[in-house]
């Protein structure tokens, strides 16, 4: 096959699967349409019907352009899986932001795109205006996006729409979820969704009761319970009101949210193992150990630093304002029990530094959380320990180092190197974001806080993110959220394929 034919074939494969992802997501707009009908919100209903029409038409065009792929899923290669994931996320950002724009709650299309990418990537930063008067339909859509984004949109669409699944695992990896719970990729998707749906039902019920106890009416309490659970489970951080979790004025509500966002930040593989009866995994797993140590240290250091200031006079207020925010940052959730500027004005440089480190570390791999993940931190840490031990031991000794992650795994140099490389990529992204923030006139602490929030897909803000911030910063933050969520490889693969395609066309023209 000639080079040009390979390029066309690849483009068709990518177009075919990306088309199905777009089609699948357009179908999901039925839920906000139904919400609008039940809430008698006729204009938002029309907004969603228009958006659904545009998205479905484009998805259909993409599928038709790649129709030769039908029945040849075996020809899907790794690069296609990566490119489909990366391209679908960009396309969906543009399409899913149409209802935001039509609602009139965003100043520009860029702001709408920012909010959608923030939702998909489970970040939780918001540029939408007047959240307190948003329609139920748009609120449902915002929280749905973050819930679906957390589980993986490409995987959801392809496992339930496309019949043939031999290339499915490549899409999983492309979307940053290198996970195979069972040999069958559809089976893995079903397990992920079963765990999420069981928790959704259970969490919504608990939050609904808590809502009733704090005085919300039954219908409102149910909607708030759905929204807050979806945000907590997907470590998203969106809330239906401007004041975020502070709106509820309830320790109980915050404590329930904490439980679910911590569980949401765990690896789906861990959930599956524990649900299968392997309960020791909950203690032995390197990611849980890594999370428990770093979250404990970060919380205690922050509590120790802020207890001296006298800002929080008792244990309950220290817990609600300090531990809650540190854990929200560490699990990359982004629920805030403080106003943005309070971090800058009250927490001081020490408090901000703890938050930045917690946000960059993040949750577990193959979970809904962001950051460079506890698994990689654990592997690199164990790698350093192993290297030191090797230096100190006899030159003749041959010792194999292992770590526990679902099973005992040999700590190979390649694994440590791969983990360290991804951590370096995150740090570069964070560094550029901080630098850009300072160029735009923000202080170093503010720039670093916000850059770590977007890089780690957290969603806490120190006040930089607003509709009035420079467009260049909005675009960079969109890019950082996207790269951070897909863990670089997919985006690099898409860019690489695009450059290769352009080069081939250029060469053909010269001939």
């Amino acid at each position: 096959m000639k080079n040009s034919e390979i390029s066309v074939r690849s483009a068709e494969i990518i177009s075919y699967y990306a088309g199905f992802v777009i089609l699948g997501t357009s179908m999901l707009m039925i839920i906000p349409v139904v919400t609008a009908i039940l809430s008698r919100e006729w204009i938002p209903m029309l907004d969603f019907i228009i958006s659904m029409g545009i998205a479905a038409s484009l998805g259909l065009i993409f599928v038709l352009l790649g129709r030769r792929t039908k029945g040849h899923s075996a020809s899907v290669q790794w690069r296609h899986g990566f490119a489909v994931a990366a391209l679908s996320w960009v396309m969906l950002m543009f399409l899913c932001s149409i209802p935001y724009l039509l609602s009139g709650h965003t100043y520009s299309y860029l702001d709408a795109c920012f909010d959608v990418m923030s939702g998909f990537t489970t970040t939780g930063l918001v540029l939408t205006q007047d959240l307190d008067h948003l329609s139920n339909a748009l609120n449902m859509w915002r929280h749905m996006l973050t819930f679906i984004g957390g589980q993986g949109m490409v995987v959801l669409a392809l496992t339930f729409i496309v019949k043939e699944s031999s290339g499915g695992y490549k899409f999983y990896v492309g979307e940053g979820k290198d996970i195979a719970l069972v040999p069958n990729v559809k089976g893995t998707a079903r397990i992920i969704w079963k765990i999420s749906i069981v928790y959704l039902l259970f969490g919504t019920l608990v939050l609904w009761i808590a809502g009733l106890l704090i005085g919300l009416n039954p219908a409102s309490s149910l909607l708030h319970a759905i929204y807050i659970f979806e945000s907590a489970w997907s470590t998203g951080g969106f809330a239906p009101n401007t004041q975020n979790i502070m709106y509820y004025h309830s320790f109980l509500y915050e404590a329930i949210a904490m439980v679910f966002f911590i569980i949401g930040s765990f690896n789906f593989g861990l959930h599956y193992a524990v649900w299968q009866g392997k309960r020791k995994e909950f203690v032995r797993n390197i990611e849980i150990q890594s999370f428990a140590i770093t979250a404990f240290l970060a919380s205690v250091l922050a509590v120790a630093a802020l207890s001296k200031t006298g800002l929080y006079p008792d244990a309950v207020s220290l817990y609600r304002r300090v531990v809650f925010n540190v854990l929200s940052a560490h699990t990359t959730t982004g629920f805030g029990s403080l106003y943005a500027r309070q971090f800058a004005l009250q927490w001081g440089d020490g408090g901000i530094l703890i938050m930045v480190i917690a946000m960059l570390i993040g949750g577990s791999a193959c979970s809904t959380a962001g950051g460079f993940k506890g698994l990689r931190v654990g592997i690199v840490f164990k790698g350093i320990i192993a290297d030191v031990k090797k230096l100190l031991s006899s030159e003749r000794s041959m010792r194999v180092y292992k770590f526990h992650y679902m099973k005992d795994i040999v700590l190979e140099d390649g694994l440590v190197r791969a983990s360290a490389l991804i951590i370096i990529c995150y740090m570069v992204l964070f560094g550029i974001g901080t630098l850009l923030g300072t160029f735009c006139g923000y202080s170093l602490a503010d720039s670093a806080f916000e850059a770590s929030s977007v890089t780690g897909n957290v969603g806490l803000s120190i006040g930089v993110t607003s509709a009035s911030m420079p467009a260049v910063l909005k675009i960079y933050y969109i890019f950082a959220m996207y790269l951070g969520r897909l863990e670089f490889l997919s985006v690099f693969a898409l860019i690489g394929m695009a450059i290769t395609g352009v080069k081939r066309i250029w060469k053909r023209k010269q001939i």
């Binding site: 649900w275 909950f282 428990a292 244990a315 531990v323």
Partner: protein
């Protein structure tokens, strides 16, 4: 969608594990608040 006994125990294990962790953090916070 049915849950087996092992799955229910698994779910409760996760929730109780997190509650214990949060409880420990609350105990530490109490120490500092004094």
């Amino acid at each position: 969608m049915r849950l087996s006994k092992a799955e229910i125990i698994g779910l409760l294990t996760e929730i109780s594990g997190v509650l214990i962790f949060l409880g420990i953090l609350f105990a530490v916070t109490l120490l500092f608040a004094r």
